[in-house]
Subunit: 353 residues, 2 copies
Amino acid sequence: MAEKARVLLVGSGGIGTMTALNLEQGGLATVAAVLRSNYAMVKEKGFTIDSCDHGKLAEWKPSEVLPKVPDVTSGHEGSAKPFDYVIVTTKNVPDVPPTVADLIRPAVTPGHSVIVLIQNGLNIEKPLMAAFPDNICLSGVSLMGADELSPGHILQNDVDRLFIGPFLSDKLDGQKQIAAAEEFVRIYSASGKVQCSYQADVLFVRWRKLMYNAVWNPICALTDLDTTRFRLASDAQDPANPLDLLVRPAMNEIRAAAKASANVELPESLVESMVECDPMEIFCAPSMLQDRRKGRFIEYENILGEALREGERAGIAMPTIKCLYGLCKAVQWRTMELNGLVNAQKLMEARIS
Amino acid sequence: MAEKARVLLVGSGGIGTMTALNLEQGGLATVAAVLRSNYAMVKEKGFTIDSCDHGKLAEWKPSEVLPKVPDVTSGHEGSAKPFDYVIVTTKNVPDVPPTVADLIRPAVTPGHSVIVLIQNGLNIEKPLMAAFPDNICLSGVSLMGADELSPGHILQNDVDRLFIGPFLSDKLDGQKQIAAAEEFVRIYSASGKVQCSYQADVLFVRWRKLMYNAVWNPICALTDLDTTRFRLASDAQDPANPLDLLVRPAMNEIRAAAKASANVELPESLVESMVECDPMEIFCAPSMLQDRRKGRFIEYENILGEALREGERAGIAMPTIKCLYGLCKAVQWRTMELNGLVNAQKLMEARIS
C-alpha cells in the first residue's frame, strides 16, 4: 500500500473542515489542519459534524490539529515533514494582510508541495505563482454548503461538489500540472461520498461561479437580506423591481466580461438559473452577508474587483458591478477601522491640517 | 397690527422644530405643532434647543402642541379653526402609508390653506395637487442642519437657509401662487435670524440639492459610513477609489438627468463642491444613514426613484443611480418586514406552494 499523501489544510471553517474530513475518510491522505478561532475548542473536544455527505460525527479530529502554519523550511530539529499538498480554504482578502502567500510560505517546500486554492474569484493564483514559481498550483471551486455554527460545530447542508483543474504555469511542465490535478481528484474522490471532477477549463468554472458570487454576495451584504428575502422584495409586477434593477444587469455584465476578457461563453439561460438557484425555503445568506453581519472582512477584491478590471480592460462597461465594488471597498474600510487598522480621527486631522 | 398667520406644522423633529421656533420668533405667525414620538415629553417639559441661529432655549413650546393632525373640516363643536398654512416637515415616504396627503387632509381647508412642503426630492407636489386642487402648494428646500438628539432635545448646528417657491399649478392663478410664496418668505424672514429667499426656479433648487441627496444619502446608508469616513476611505492614489467609482459618476448622472428632463443646468463645478461640502471635522451622517441606523424607513423614492424615472424618460442612462435605487428598495422591504408590514415566511410559503 502506497504511503498516504501528507496534506496541510489552512482554514478550518465549514468548507475546510469538510474537506479535511473527506480526505481522511478516503484513506489516501493524512491531514494536518491549521485552526485559528476554534483551535482550543477542537484540540480538546474535536469537531461536532452534521454532514449530508458523511453523516453525524462527534469528537472528530483530523490527524493533526495545529494552532499555526508549521515551518518545514528551517530544517532544525522538530521542524515538520514536507507537505505533498497545501490546501487553502481561508477567505481570500488580499487587501488585508497577511496575503495567502505569506500565510502558507513556511509550509511550502519548493518544487514539491502542490498548492490547492479552494477559494473564489479571479487571478487568485497570480501572487502564489509569483511567490512559489516551482510549485504546481491547482484551482478548486467548491459548490458545497457548509457553515461553522459555533466553534467546532460544523453543519454541511449541501453536497460537496468540487471542480479541480490546474492554474497552468508556463514555467512548469504542462502534463505534470494536469497529472497533479488528476491525482488530487483521485485522492479527494476516494471516500466515494463526494462529487469531485477534473475540469480543464478553470476560467469557465471560475467565471460561472462569479455570476452568483459577484452579484448575490455584495447585494445581500449591502442590503442585509438573504437571497430568499431579496427575491420576495422583488415584486415581478413592478417593472423597477430589484432583481431587474440590479441582479440581472450585474449577471449580464459578468457574462459580457467573461466573453470579452477570457472568451468564456456563459449562456444567457444561466442568468435565471443563478437568480433562482437557492431553494426559497433555506433563506440562504451568502458568505459575504454572513461576514458583514459578523463584522468580518469581505472578499470583494478577487470576486468583484478582478472581474471589473478584467472586463474593463477588455472594453466592457460594467456599471452595476462597479457600483457594488465601490460600495464594498468602502464597507471594507469601515471594517478596517473597527479592527483598529485605520484611525478616522487621525486621518481627518491630517487631512484638514 | 394684522392678525398673525395660523400655521399647522406636521413633523416636529429637528428641522420642523426649528421651523416652528423661527416662525414664532418672527412674531407674524402662531404655530400649532403636531408631535408623535416626542409628544408626551414636549407636552410636559417643552423643547430643549441649542441653536446656532436662535441660541439656547429651555422648556420652549410652540403656541399649541398637538398629538395628531387636528380636524378642521367636520364643523362640529371643538373642531379647530382653519389654518392659513400647513407646513410639512416629515420625511416623505410614499411607499409606506399614510401618504402626506392622507396625513394632512383633516387640516386642509379647501381654497384657503397654503401647503408648504419642506421636503426633499422631485414630484412630491403631484399627489398634493391631485388631492387639494384648490390649494396653493409651495416648495421649501432647506439647507439647515438640525437633529433631534433625544425626544425633545434639538441641536441646530448649521444655519437655516430656506428656499421657497411655488409649485405652479395651472389650475390656479399664477400671480396668486407667486404672491403666496413671497408672503411666506416675509413671514419666515421676520425673525431676522435666518436666510429665507424666494426662488422662482423650484426645479433648479430641487435638482441641485439632489446632487447631494441622491448620492451621499444612499451611499452612506448602504455602507454605514458618514461622509467624512467615506472620503477618508477613498485614497486619491487609488484610481479605483470609491469617490471616483460611485460618488462622482452618480452626481454626473443627476446633472445629465436634470438637463435632459427639466433643462436645468447644473455646472460641472458643482460636483466637487458637493463631494466636499460637509466639513471634514463634523463626520456628517446624512439623514438616510441615520434612518437606517435607527431601523426607520428611508425616503428613497422621491430622492432616487423620481430622479431615475425623470432621467430615463428623457433618455439618460443612470446606471449608478439605478443600482443605488435598487439597493434602497430592497433595504426598505427589510424595514417593512422588521415593522411587521410584510411576512417573509408566509410570502415564501405562498411562493413555493
